[in-house]
Amino acid sequence: MEIPESVKKRLTLPAEEHFYAGHTACQGCGASLGLRYVLKAYGRKTIVTIPACCSTIIAGAWPYSTLDANLFHTAFETTGAVISGIEAALKAMGYKVKGEDGVMVVGWAGDGGTADIGLQALSGFLERGHDAVYIMYDNEAYMNTGIQRSGSTPYGAWTTNTPGGKRHFLEKRHKKKVIDIVIAHEIPYAATASVAYPEDFIRKLKKAQKIPGPSFIQLFSPCPTGWRSPTDKSIEIARLAVQTAYFPLFEYENGKYRINMPSTKKEPKPIEEFLKYQGRFKYMTKEDIQILQEWVNHEWEKLQKLAATFG
């Protein structure tokens, strides 16, 4: 039903809904929320490309679609290339692409499909300067295949191929800084965002819409199934990721860094706050937590310096 007019002006997100219920995402899924927000921001005049990932399933099995927008399913590593082709075709066919009334070309890929197998196509898309928006929803592992580590999995995390055990065989590498790789392409606009802060995410999506050229948003997107966390804590965990500076919110726009609310608050909470609801971190020792905390501190300091120097 229509949302009452009296209510609409009090909403902090666009009222219209272009993401259908009845989808088969897990309970408490961050990715489905993210996709819902993307369609709220861009509406129906959007072509979404989804590679192999949880969203392949979430988007509906044939003959049903969860999206009230055009969607092309593609192979794992090809998001960057497919959106390049779609953008080129739209231009060849005389459509306006991007901008207020243009067609929005959106790549929606997971962290594995972006940071690992899709990195080459992402790089090509970025450096060629296509008018499209690439969103990496980051749930920090290969969830669709049953929770295997990706380049974006954090230090100390349990996954099915970093299962801990007697040898303490957990993820031993810190999370790959995909956004830094993206920024190295000197694209006009890149940002981090979180499903816990949808107003900020939608503001960034709208900004990406206005700015010509390629845009990239890394969306922090909890996965209760893979993170071994209670389904009702998804938003809380995502909020804590920001509040602990584990996943700070910031923008990179034409060479300038800007840290966004609420990451601008001075003192981040200790990393344990972020870890507490998540079973995937339960094998971490005190030393492990300290190593992760130091990494967070270092990265956070680096970002603050970047914002101070190139703000």
Partner: protein, 394 residues
């Protein structure tokens, strides 16, 4: 408008590029690879000169070339790409995607041998290894057929919504200058109207999701649809080939081009540029009294089973010339042809000659030597061996 061809001396690759321009292709996404590169260079030159408005996407790999071409074609544009050998192998996954999504993409593959050892020369194993990807395959004998093949392929592909690979030989066609009759743009436009897509991604009021998960309850039916499209394509290929002949004087109404079949004891059967040399040699052999003919397989997919049966009915032997090999078995065309005939009851003596791999030159004297061998086999009524590595240094 009366058809007055524009005759140019161009390489096979330039013939492909001209055909792409004349077909009013809208998007080209391609990656350089020897010996394909001069196709995209020529297209880039057309764009630079303002001769075409093609959107050119200089992708970072062949895998992305096919992926971007797929994105463009799904959106609704007429799209093209080109590659060779390693590049085609890298595309393999996405070839399935193009046919499964029923996108009428046309691609030129310049037949080149697979490494290692490195080789940039002619060999059909790269394209034949893509046999089961759901693409149609057209093998060009000469530069003219590269040009004609691309134009006809768009019409055929867009009728049955199945992609087509137009295959030409490395260097032997790609870099050889030859006379090509080109068709004035207005007449190409009459022959090949703008694409009418099966679906697009630009109907924003009635959005669709393409390629979603299909359960075991539905996947099977979509495979049948693609299988049926290939079967239906045979008639479309013949009709379009006939129309092309009526309009432009070069008839392609048969999927296998034959010569001297009626009174031949045996025929040479093969695909691509080597059949030009075979035709030349057959004329000479005829002068010398050999009852020999040729059967040039133009379309490998869909496979022209019915036409092959008719040939098998009228000859005693078939010498299959395979510039390719399926390891652990035999030449690929040989294997296909034998399989196609099994249930027909036609049993000509068939021998497989593995020739020209990796660009080994296959000459008129070679054809004559094989004719000699084949003649002896037919006189004796039995094969000396089934598969012969013809050029092998012994």
């Amino acid at each position: 408008m009366e058809y007055k061809p524009i005759r140019k001396v161009v390489s096979g690759n330039y013939a492909a590029a001209y055909a792409v321009k004349h077909a009013r292709v809208q998007v080209v996404a391609a990656y350089p690879i020897t010996p394909q590169t001069s196709i995209i260079e020529k297209i880039a030159e057309f764009i630079a000169n303002g001769e075409t408005d093609i959107q050119y996407v200089p992708v970072e790999s062949e895998h992305s070339a096919m992926a971007a071409t797929i994105g463009a074609s799904a959106t609704g544009a007429r799209a093209f790409t080109a590659t060779a050998a390693q590049g085609l192998a890298l595309m393999h996954e996405m070839l399935h995607w193009a046919s499964g999504a029923r996108l009428p993409i046309v691609m030129v593959d310049v037949n080149r041998a697979m490494a290692p050892p490195w080789s940039v020369w002619d060999d059909q194993t790269d394209s034949l290894a893509q046999r089961d990807t759901g693409w149609m395959q057209f093998y060009a004998e000469n530069n003219q057929e590269v040009y004609d093949g691309v134009l006809m392929s768009y019409k055929i592909a867009e009728t049955v919504n199945v992609p087509v690979m137009v295959v030409e030989s490395a260097f032997i066609l790609s870099h050889t200058y030859d006379v090509v009759e080109m068709i004035p743009q207005e007449l190409v436009d009459e022959f090949l109207p703008p694409r009418k897509p099966l679906y697009t991604l630009t109907d924003f009021d009635n959005p669709v999701s393409v390629g979603a998960l299909a359960t075991p309850n539905d996947y099977y039916e979509f495979r049948y649809k693609l299988a049926k499209a290939h079967e239906d394509a045979k008639k479309v290929i013949k009709d379009v080939g006939k129309e092309f002949g009526e309009r432009f004087g070069r008839d392609y109404s048969s999927m296998i081009e034959t010569g001297y079949i009626d009174d031949a004891d045996f025929v040479f059967m093969g695909m691509g540029s080597l059949m030009g040399t075979v035709k030349q040699a057959v004329d000479l052999l005829r002068d010398e009294g050999y009852r020999v003919g040729y059967a040039k397989v133009r379309w490998f997919r869909p496979f022209p089973k019915e036409e092959l049966e008719a040939i098998a009915e009228s000859v005693k032997g078939i010498a299959v010339l395979d510039r390719n090999f399926s390891f652990g078995q035999e030449g690929i065309l040989f294997n296909e042809a034998k399989g196609a005939l099994y249930n027909t009851g036609e049993r000509p003596l068939m021998k497989d000659y593995i020739v020209g791999l990796g660009g080994r030159d296959f000459t008129v004297p070679d054809v004559k030597a094989i004719a000699e061998n084949m003649k002896a086999i037919i006189e004796k009524g039995e094969l000396d061996r089934e598969v012969e590595w013809y050029h092998l240094k012994r």
